[in-house]
């Protein structure tokens, strides 16, 4: 049976890592992720995991060590945030392109400059085209659950792509919440043993990793990656359903909160979805048919399912916690509009909010929804900027 614990988001993910007991973990601190690895290092020091813990000298090395260990045939995990992810970038792309099922938690934090340790999604959104599967958590419970499911998704033979699971820096990482922790044996049975496809350490079946590809085959390898992402669309819901049965919690590629009969639908991801639910309840109490679609899986982006979920609305408001400089709106907005293009002409309004950890309140969200419903919003809007 599951145990109910009071845990910070960071601690919840470290518990998932302890239960997963990966073969190799590459560890490097960065606020607000530091506490996550620190907790895991405690488990390691206490002999609670069999993991090989590699304390590296930078995030670039953390991802490089992860790639090496994964190619060798190990089940590998790591974690980072913001500029740490930015420093990893080169190898983040290589990990996905080499089809290594590494899983990594990203504790979302604004990218420098100017320096800022608080939450926005500029770090992971900047990585949206690296070929990693991306999951976003609303709360610490989901951060825990996603970390466990990520292993199964990544290692699925039809997928073999790394998975990045996000939780909002400080808002979740450092806030204590009620979290249900499965039994260790349940997690072990769920993730199962990892059988790598082409382990470098299998000297009887030698393989070459990272050879020259050039014009001859590079395009074909990219085409394979696109196919693996498409396969993930099929695999992810299966794994969500299986874990749903195990945990008693429901997981969908995105959550529909009172959106079925809604006239206006808000789309967002991360912890803001919790605030949005309160706003929607209050609007509904005042007779406004508002609903929420909370994205969980951002890569692969569930465009087909979203068209179906959003088509009944009169207006759609999107909340983006990162800017895409020079683009028409933020990353989520661009995806939503692209998904709806040619299929419906519902107006989609984008709101950039919360950059660098700027707070968002229930009243802000109610205002956004009202303006969208009245058609009074511009195409690009900002919440709380002076």
């Amino acid at each position: 049976m599951a145990k109910v614990r009071a845990l910070t988001g960071n601690h919840a993910v470290s518990e998932a890592m302890r239960q997963i007991d990966p073969d190799v973990v590459a560890c490097y601190p960065i606020t607000p992720q530091t506490e996550l690895m620190q907790k895991f290092a405690d488990f390691y020091a206490d002999g609670l995991v069999r993991t090989e813990l590699i304390c590296v000298e930078s995030e670039h090395s953390a991802m490089s060590a992860s790639v090496g260990a994964s190619a060798a045939g190990a089940r590998v995990m790591t974690a980072t945030a913001a500029n740490g992810l930015a420093l990893m970038w080169e190898i983040v792309y290589i990990a996905a392109s080499t089809r290594l099922p590494i899983t990594m938690t990203v504790v979302n934090r604004a990218l420098s400059a100017p320096i800022n340790i608080h939450c926005d999604h500029s770090d992971s959104m900047g990585c949206r085209d690296t070929g990693w599967i991306q999951l976003y958590a609303e709360n610490s419970q989901e951060a825990y659950d996603h970390a466990i499911m990520a292993v199964r998704i990544a290692e699925h033979p039809d997928v073999l792509l790394p998975v990045m699971s996000m939780l909002d820096g400080f808002i979740l990482s450092h806030t204590m919440e009620r979290v249900e922790i499965l039994e260790d044996e349940q997690v072990k049975a769920f993730i199962g043993d990892y059988t790598p496809l082409y382990p470098l350490l299998d000297v009887d079946n030698p393989v070459t990793y990272g050879p020259l590809d050039l014009q001859d085959y590079y395009f074909e390898h990219k085409r394979q990656q696109i196919g693996a992402m498409e396969n993930a669309r099929v695999v992810i819901p299966e794994i969500f359903a299986e874990y749903g049965n195990l945990s008693g919690r429901e997981f969908d590629i995105f959550e529909r909160y009172k959106s079925d009969d809604a006239e206006v639908i808000l789309v967002c991801l991360g912890s803001t979805a919790g605030t949005a639910k309160v706003a929607i309840d209050e609007l509904r109490a005042g007779g406004i048919k508002a609903g929420l679609v909370k994205l969980r899986v951002f890569r692969p982006f569930p465009h087909g399912e979203l068209v179906e979920a959003l088509s009944g609305a009169r207006a759609i408001a999107v909340l983006d916690r990162s800017a895409s400089f020079g683009a028409e709106g933020g990353p989520i907005h661009a995806e939503i509009r692209s998904a709806l293009y040619g299929r419906t002409d519902i107006p989609v309004y984008d709101y950039i909010y919360g950059l660098g950890g700027r707070n968002i309140f229930v009243d802000d969200i109610k205002n956004v929804i009202n303006l969208a419903l009245e058609g009074k919003a511009g195409e690009m809007n900002y919440i709380g900027v002076r």
Binding site: S97, T98, R99, L100, L160, L197, Y198, N205, P206, V207, T208, Y209, G210, P211, D213, D216, Y217, Y218, E220, H221, R223, Q224, G227, A228
Partner: protein, 99 residues
């Protein structure tokens, strides 16, 4: 020309899963200089055989008998490494072998 295999037919991630298949890649087409060995001068020390990065020096019964032109890419390492007092290998422009 035979069509190269498509994305469904090749290993994922750019991996090469067949040991020793570099032999199938005929690097001989890269060559602009061809090593020509003077059998009179050659002392069969096999230094060229050791240094050749493409295993293109053909040796039989401990003696150099020729160059595998399908794989020799014309780098000239053999000519450079052949002992100074022997200098049995000359690099000759590939164009001189064309009719």
């Amino acid at each position: 020309m035979k069509k190269a295999p498509g994305y469904k037919d090749i290993p994922i991630g750019g991996l090469i899963i067949e040991a020793g298949n570099a032999e199938k890649y005929e690097t001989g087409s890269w060559r602009s200089f061809r090593p020509v060995r003077d059998d009179e001068k050659c002392i069969h020390c096999l230094i060229c055989w050791i240094f050749c990065p493409d295993s293109a020096i053909i040796v039989e019964d401990g003696k150099v008998v020729g160059v595998d032109l399908d794989h020799c890419k014309g780098c000239g390492i053999c000519a450079r490494e052949c002992p100074k007092k022997v200098q049995a290998i000359t690099m000759v422009k590939e164009s001189e072998f064309r009719e």
